[in-house]
C-alpha cells in the first residue's frame, strides 16, 4: 500500500433497519470497493436516491457503516475529522449566519487555536483563492448562492483539509454560475492539489470535472458498476476529443441500468 492512497474503501455496505421488522434489512449500499489516490479529482455519478450522499456521509464520518472498511490515510474512519473538509449542498444551513464571511472561513483555525498572525495570513490567502476579497465583511445572508459555496470551499481549504468532500455543491445554482463554479473548483484543485470527492447526478458535470468517475448502480444494493478515467486535460470542452463518445457511453450504461 503506497503512501499515495488517500482513501481506501473495502467491501463497504450500509443497511438501514427496515420499517416493518428486523428480518428484512434493506441494503442501500452493497460491497463498495474503491481506491482514491492523493490529489485525485474523483466524481461519483448516480441517479437520485442511489445512495451517493450515504456513501459520502460515511466517508465524512457522519453516518455509521454497516460492514466493511473505510480507510483515510490508512486509518479507519470513525467520526468526522479535520482532514476531511465538507462542502454541503445546502449552503444556507452550512454557514454560520451570525458571523461574517471572514469569520466563517476562519472558524476551523480559531477552533484549533492557530495564532492570529498565521490565521490572518491563511485566511487572506484562502479568501483570495475563491475571489471573495470584496465580500469578507459581509454576512452569509448577503451573499449569492455561488458566493456561499465559495465560502464553504475557502473554509475547508483554510482548515488545511487534505480531502474535500462535495455533495452536489452546485445543484442549487443556475447554469451559468454553475459553470463558473466548476471552473473555479478545477482551478482551486490544480492550485492546491487537494483530493476531491465530488457527487453529482449530472453526466456532463461529471465528465467536465472528474479525473476519475465512479458510476453507481441504483438502490437498493447500490454498488460501483464502473470506474473510468477521463484522460482529457483541463479546461475541457465537452464537444471535443473523445468526451462526446464518453458521455454517450455513460448514458448507455444508465439506459441499461435504469431501463429508460
Amino acid at each position: 500500500m503506497g503512501d499515495d492512497i488517500a482513501i481506501r474503501v473495502e467491501h463497504l455496505s450500509k443497511s438501514y433497519d427496515a420499517a416493518g421488522g428486523a428480518s428484512a434489512r434493506i441494503y442501500v449500499l452493497s460491497d463498495i470497493n474503491l481506491c482514491i489516490s492523493r490529489g485525485e479529482f474523483h466524481v461519483f455519478l448516480g441517479w437520485s436516491g442511489c445512495g451517493k450522499s450515504t456513501l459520502l456521509n460515511i466517508i465524512a464520518g457522519f453516518v455509521e457503516k454497516t460492514e466493511g472498511h473505510v480507510l483515510v490515510g490508512g486509518m479507519e474512519v470513525e467520526k468526522p475529522g479535520r482532514e476531511r473538509g465538507v462542502v454541503f449542498q445546502n449552503a444556507d444551513a452550512a454557514l454560520f449566519p451570525w458571523i461574517t464571511v471572514r469569520r466563517n472561513v476562519e472558524y476551523g483555525l480559531r477552533i484549533n487555536g492557530t495564532p492570529k498572525r498565521a490565521r490572518d495570513e491563511i485566511v487572506n490567502r484562502c479568501i483570495k483563492l475563491v475571489g471573495l476579497e470584496e465580500h469578507e465583511k459581509k454576512y452569509p445572508d448577503e451573499l449569492s448562492g455561488g458566493m456561499k459555496q465559495r465560502v464553504q470551499i475557502a473554509r475547508s481549504i483554510a482548515n488545511d483539509s487534505e480531502i474535500l468532500i462535495m455533495d452536489e455543491p452546485f445543484g442549487a445554482l443556475d447554469a451559468q454560475t454553475r459553470r463558473l463554479m466548476q471552473n473555479e473548483v478545477i482551478d482551486i484543485w490544480q492550485k492546491t492539489r487537494k483530493t476531491i470527492l465530488f457527487v453529482t447526478h449530472d453526466i456532463h458535470e461529471a465528465v467536465y470535472l472528474g479525473q476519475r468517475i465512479s458510476i453507481l448502480s441504483r438502490a437498493p444494493n447500490a454498488t460501483i458498476i464502473r470506474s473510468m478515467d477521463v484522460p482529457s486535460p483541463y479546461p475541457r470542452r465537452l464537444a471535443q476529443g473523445r468526451l462526446p463518445s464518453l458521455i454517450q457511453e455513460i448514458q448507455g450504461l444508465f439506459d441499461v441500468e435504469y431501463e429508460i
Binding site: A60, G61, G81, R84, A93, W98, Y107, G108, I111, N159
Partner: protein, 250 residues
C-alpha cells in the same frame, strides 16, 4: 390616512374609549369608572407621587426577578437540550411545575423567603423560568444537523461545538422564551404584591377596593397593560437590531 391610523392602533384605542365611556354612563363610579373619571383619579396619585413610586418599585421587582430567572433558566435549558441524562432527570419536574401558577406558591414563598422583597422576587423568578427553559430546550433540539456536522468536520470538540454553534444557533428561541418570560413576570407582579406588600402596582390594584377607589384599580390595570405593551416593544426592538444576525425577527 385612515389605514395609517388603523395600523397604528388609533382606531382600536378610540373605539375602546368610546365603549368604556358609554358603559360607565350607566353605572356608578364605584362600580365602573369611565375614562375621564379614571384620569381624574389617576391625577391624584400622580400629583402626590404615589403612582411613580409604585411603578418604580414594581418595575424593579419585575426586572430583578426576570433577570435572575433568565440567568438561571438559559443554562438549565441549554443543558437539558444538550444532554439526554439531564433531560431524563429534570424534564418531569419541569412538566409538573410549569402547570402550577406562581400564585399557588404565594403563601409558601412568604413562609420561606419572608415578607421582604425576596418573596416577591421569588414569585417573579418562578413565573419567568418556565417559558425560558422550555423555549431554550426547543432551540437546542431544533438546531440544523448540518451546522453540527460542519463544526465536527472542522475539528471542533463537543464543548467547542456547544459554545460556537449550539448557543448562538439557539438565540432566536431563547429570545422568544425571554419575551414570554417577561409577560409571565409582569402578570405575576399582582400576585407577588397581593400579600405583605406596602407598595407597587399590584398592591394598588389589590388594596384600592378596600377604599372603594375603583378608579385606582383601573389606573393600575392600565399601567400594567401599558408597561407590558411597551416593554415588549422595546425588547423586540432590541431583538431585531442587536440580535438580528442570530436570526431574531421582530
Amino acid at each position: 390616512m385612515c389605514l395609517f391610523l388603523l395600523k397604528k392602533g388609533v382606531v382600536t384605542l378610540a373605539l375602546l374609549l368610546v365603549i368604556w365611556e358609554l358603559a360607565s354612563l350607566f353605572n356608578s363610579v364605584d362600580f365602573l369608572p369611565g375614562p375621564v373619571q379614571t384620569v381624574i383619579g389617576g391625577w391624584e396619585i400622580v400629583r402626590n407621587g404615589v403612582l411613580f413610586d409604585y411603578i418604580t418599585i414594581s418595575f424593579l421587582r419585575i426586572f430583578i426577578g426576570w433577570s435572575l430567572g433568565i440567568a438561571a433558566a438559559v443554562p438549565i435549558g441549554l443543558l437539558i437540550g444538550q444532554f439526554a441524562i439531564v433531560r431524563e432527570i429534570l424534564e418531569p419536574f419541569i412538566n409538573f411545575f410549569r402547570f402550577v401558577p406562581a400564585i399557588g406558591f404565594l403563601t409558601l414563598f412568604l413562609m420561606w423567603f419572608g415578607v421582604e422583597e425576596e418573596s416577591k422576587i421569588a414569585i417573579i423568578f418562578y413565573a419567568t423560568i418556565f417559558p425560558v427553559i422550555i423555549n431554550t430546550i426547543a432551540g437546542v433540539v431544533s438546531i440544523n444537523e448540518i451546522k453540527l456536522q460542519v463544526a465536527q468536520s472542522q475539528g471542533a470538540s463537543p464543548f467547542q461545538i456547544f459554545y460556537t454553534v449550539t448557543i448562538p444557533a439557539s438565540v432566536p428561541h431563547i429570545f422568544t422564551g425571554i419575551r414570554l418570560g417577561l409577560s409571565g413576570a409582569i402578570i405575576s407582579i399582582v400576585a407577588a404584591e397581593m400579600l405583605a406588600a406596602q407598595s407597587g402596582i399590584g398592591y394598588l390594584i389589590y388594596t384600592s377596593r378596600l377604599y372603594f377607589r375603583t378608579d385606582w384599580i383601573f389606573v393600575g390595570i392600565l399601567t400594567l397593560g401599558l408597561t407590558g405593551y411597551f416593554s415588549d416593544k422595546l425588547l423586540r426592538f432590541f431583538g431585531r437590531t442587536a440580535l438580528r444576525r442570530y436570526g431574531v425577527k421582530g
